[in-house]
Amino acid sequence: MKTCLIVDDSRMIRRVAGRIVKDLGFETLEAINGQDALDKCMLELPDAILVDWAMPIMDGFDFVKKLRELPGGDEPTVVFCTSVRDVSRIVEALAAGADEYIMKPFDSDIIESKFALAGLV
């Protein structure tokens, strides 16, 4: 079974997104910020990562840049899931290594569509 790491400082978002991603056939893991996610990725890389932008300690943007520098760190498919909707910031996220981008609020259709576009389902 494919794995998806859900990185968000909101427990509610982790729970809602986790349920949707499980329905798409993934085993889910959780991290509460970028540093937590990076620590987990250093132990084992997931197939997909759904990551928020604004989080304490390490934000999603720094996490993605550091992830892509890890050995094999270019392999996980990264989908941002954030309230940030400025075009310039979306472009920065893509340049940093994001594969797709979800703007909150989201629903199951949006996550499924973005995972399909990223080749995950």
């Binding site: 075009v87 979306i90 893509l94 609020p105 629903d107 259709d109 949006i110 569509s113 973005k114 576009l117």
Partner: protein, 301 residues
């Protein structure tokens, strides 16, 4: 009508459901299916509010008592509007990108071609075509393309003309790279950029009417609606489309859709159904019956 009346309670007498189903079949050739009560309630309630009726019952009463054609078309448009999203039929767009456009470019070299999105709803399909063309501009060098989207007059078609989409619309089927390249945020919505919008012209027509007002096209995309048409309406709409496609032009149907036993002057292009090429009309030379036709034998005197 007062603002309070516009927000009155909405309900519909049960006897009207069958009448609406028959009207939709008659006007649009589309079967709503057995469980259409929910569709009627949700879609027509919104139309009734927007048109300022006290209730859904009041709007439907007027429809059947006065027989106004404008209201009938509005009602049928609302009932038959497709729930669509960007690049909904991936197979159709793949065929457009990999077979149809390269072949038209190869055969014609440059020049201007015309593509039709038949039943374009809120415009995602024709705008998607314009994005594909922009991405293939080097490969299709010298070729100018006019895209026309047609559908019944409706609020969906007005949204298409405006090129304005919600947060949810632009996150279903549309890659984020296309979003940032072809759209601009405007408050809570996203608006398609002028360079893409200018390539697409929208026209409202009755899809089952004679399509004489439309000129010929080098390719027609008609996806997702065919299975909903009644058998006679299917023949009528396909015959109409056949008349619109130029010789050696293409008809692109949705995934899993086909012309079935009929051909309407088309040949199937791939081993799968869904992509058809219009046959050339071969005109036999007229033969003068007084002329003797050589029999192939040579006689020496």
């Amino acid at each position: 009508m007062s603002a309070s009346a516009r927000h009155g309670a909405l309900s519909l007498a049960p006897t009207y459901y069958d009448a609406l189903r028959r009207l939709t079949l008659e006007l649009a050739g589309i079967n709503l299916g057995a469980n259409h009560a929910f569709l009627v309630e949700t879609r027509l309630a919104r139309l009734a509010r927007e048109e300022g009726y006290e209730s859904l019952d009041a709007m439907v009463n007027e429809l059947f008592q006065t027989g106004g054609s404008r209201l009938a078309i509005q009602v049928v448009s609302a009932l038959t509007e497709r729930d669509t999203h960007f690049f909904k039929d991936k197979t159709a767009f793949k065929r457009l990108r990999e077979i149809v456009l390269p072949d038209l470019h190869h055969k014609r070299g440059g020049g201007r071609i015309r593509i039709l999105s038949f039943g374009c709803a809120s415009g995602q399909e024709p705008y998607g075509m314009a994005m594909v063309l922009d991405q293939m501009r080097d490969e299709l060098a010298g070729m100018k393309v006019d895209i026309v989207g047609v559908d019944y007059p409706s609020q969906a078609l007005e949204r298409a003309r405006e090129g304005r989409y919600t947060h949810f619309d632009v996150q279903r089927g549309l890659p984020v790279r296309d979003l940032v390249q072809y759209f601009e945020p405007d408050n809570a919505d996203w608006v398609i950029k002028d360079n893409i919008r200018e390539q697409v012209e929208f026209r409202d027509i009755h899809l089952l009417s004679k399509l004489d007002s439309l000129e010929d096209f080098h390719a027609v995309m008609f996806c997702g609606s065919l299975p909903h048409y009644s058998a006679p309406a299917r023949v009528r709409v396909l015959r109409g489309l056949s008349g619109l496609v130029k010789e050696n032009g293409y008809l692109i149907l949705g995934e899993g859709e086909s012309l079935s036993q009929m051909n309407f002057g088309f040949n199937r292009v791939t081993t799968e159904s869904g992509l058809y090429k219009k046959r050339e009309v071969i005109i036999e030379p007229e033969v003068d019956p007084t002329l003797k036709i050589p029999n192939g034998r040579t006689t020496f005197g």
